[in-house]
């Protein structure tokens, strides 16, 4: 019989609150990077997702992700409307905390994942289309992938692939969806300077993300145990290393280290350490962070030559960073850090790396295709973009009838 632990419960609830704080932080991170006429529309994307997904998840999404009685591809319907999800712990997922605490911790992950995608279609998405996109994506893309990777009978979990806190579930899935969205929504109509209107706002958002990420990764231990401390430390080290490596590469490439580069690098490091955070030690974490900063810097250079307008670099930071992290897990994972995990290639187990590659490919492919289908369907019904005139006056006024800054 599962036994409730008060320390674990407190830790998981606080971690859930930390992860919740990340999504409005993401709104500010993105909001500072757009032009001032779109600041509210951009912050709204993140903020309203907290509302939408927090309703969809208890009604249906949580059950499709985690409930028993489904298949390796989708959870069952036992926990629809949170029936049977109460104060008694569920031994399958978190044996020492109330089942509701696990549910709400996972809810916060379900919230931030679609919010990450919004950077790809910033400054041009029609709000009504967006309101349909979010629940559809949450139920048709997030819940299935979450089940594959984390559900007790999920096929990727059975394969042996490791994802401690959501490298594939959160970052690769949102990165692939962002690519589909950038391609299908199309480029912004450039007019005048497209420069970020408030970099300090972006820095504040990045700081909120970094802070919240301790809940994201350490909280994924689901208990206040040694693994949580280990995940906390490696998360911080990877973020720091990626901040440095992004700036080194940027200075070599462009001549100046930028603040926007520093905060982007830190997010790239946080993304990359996410899947590995419960399985690797501090030195591999530094290495993963260093690589992530440099690789993601390179990855964001691709959108120009390839011609897609991933406005706020979701593909380059979350897609590429997620892949770096999933591969890094396959290389550096160690049973000495986490006996419930596996050894990676460097400890003589090539099987884990193979499983990681399969997981990356499956999540990339499924998210890209399914996101494309959802957007095609919405494009044929509500239309995806605001009109040319609405885009010119900005989302704040055209979609929400307000302006961010009184003059």
């Amino acid at each position: 019989m599962p036994h409730l632990d008060t320390g674990d419960t407190a830790f998981v609830l606080i971690s859930a609150a930390l992860v919740m704080f990340m999504t409005p932080g993401l709104g500010l991170f993105y909001g500072g990077m757009v032009r001032s006429k779109n600041v509210l529309g951009t912050v709204m994307h993140s903020f309203i997702i907290v509302g939408i997904v927090s309703v969809v998840w208890p009604l249906l999404g949580y059950s499709l992700a985690f409930a028993p009685g489904g298949s390796p591809f989708l959870g069952g319907l036992h926990w629809v409307f949170l029936r049977g999800v109460g104060q008694t712990p569920n031994a399958d997922y978190a044996a020492t905390v109330p089942h509701l605490a696990f549910m709400v911790f996972q809810l916060m992950f379900a919230v931030i994942t679609p919010a990450l995608i919004t950077g790809a279609f910033a400054e041009r998405m029609r709000f009504s289309a967006f309101l349909f996109f979010v629940p559809l994506w949450s139920l048709l893309v997030y819940s299935p992938i979450c089940h594959w990777v984390w559900g007790t009978d999920g096929w990727i979990r059975k394969l042996g692939a490791l994802d401690f806190a959501g490298g594939t579930v959160v970052h690769i899935s949102s990165g692939a969806a962002a690519l589909a969205a950038a391609l299908l929504v199309g480029r912004r109509r450039a007019a005048g300077s497209m420069a970020p209107h408030n970099v300090p706002m972006t820095i504040l958002g990045a700081a909120m993300l970094w802070f919240g990420w301790f809940g994201f990764n350490a909280g994924s231990a689901l208990a206040s145990v040694g693994i949580a401390a280990s995940a906390f430390v490696v998360t911080h080290l990877a973020a720091a290393a990626a901040t440095l490596s992004w700036l080194l590469v940027e200075r070599a490439h462009r001549g100046r280290p930028t603040t926007l580069g520093a905060v982007t690098g830190c997010v790239a490091g946080l993304v990359a350490i996410t899947p590995a955070s419960g399985f690797v030690g501090p030195m591999p974490a530094l290495f993963i962070g260093l690589v992530a900063g440099a690789v993601c810097y390179g990855a964001i250079q691709l959108k120009g030559p390839l011609g897609y307008d991933d406005s706020l670099d979701v593909v380059g930071v979350h897609g590429a960073g997620g892949i770096v992290g999933a591969l890094g897990t396959g290389l550096f994972a160690s049973k000495a850090i986490n006996p419930a995990g596996a050894n990676g290639l460097l400890l003589g187990n090539p099987g884990l790396l193979t499983a990681q590659v399969v997981a990356i490919g499956a999540v990339l492919g499924y998210s890209f295709v399914m996101t494309s289908l959802i957007l095609k369907a919405l494009g044929a019904t509500t239309g995806l973009r605001v009109s040319e005139g609405e885009e010119e006056i900005g989302l704040d006024l055209s979609q929400h009838n307000e302006t961010g800054y009184a003059w």
């Binding site: 990077m33 300077s193 497209m194 420069a195 100046r256 926007l260 580069g261 250079q301 959108k303 670099d313």
Partner: protein, 112 residues
């Protein structure tokens, strides 16, 4: 009466204000403006985006003075705002038909 419009570097505002006070100018209007000239602009880089900044921030001072004051005022502005580098700005002197003080209805030199 003349209207003097001076475009100066934002960092020179305090020095110019003080120099104007010293020659007896008590009223002025200051606006934040952007403009281009010989100084040219620069490039800013945001991640992959290069942004050409060709309109640079300057301040515009508008001062109305009696004819006899014009040379002294121009000298004061030049003395305070000059660094001898490109981008120091310009002074324009314009003829002025009339001035009205709203409170009293006074016109011409009496209203300056």
């Amino acid at each position: 009466m003349k209207k003097i419009e001076a475009i100066v570097k934002p960092s020179k505002l305090d020095a110019v204000k003080q120099a104007l006070q010293e020659v007896g100018v008590r009223g002025m209007t200051v606006s934040e403006v952007k403009g281009c000239g010989r100084q040219g602009g620069h490039k800013e880089i945001y991640r992959t985006m290069e942004v050409a900044v060709d309109l640079l921030p300057k301040l515009k001072l508008e001062i109305v003075v009696r004819d006899g004051m014009v040379d002294k005022v121009i000298e004061a502005i030049i003395r305070a705002a000059r660094t001898r580098k490109i981008g120091d700005g310009k002074v324009f002197v314009l003829p002025l038909d009339d001035v009205v003080r709203i409170r009293t209805g006074e016109t011409g030199d009496a209203a300056v």
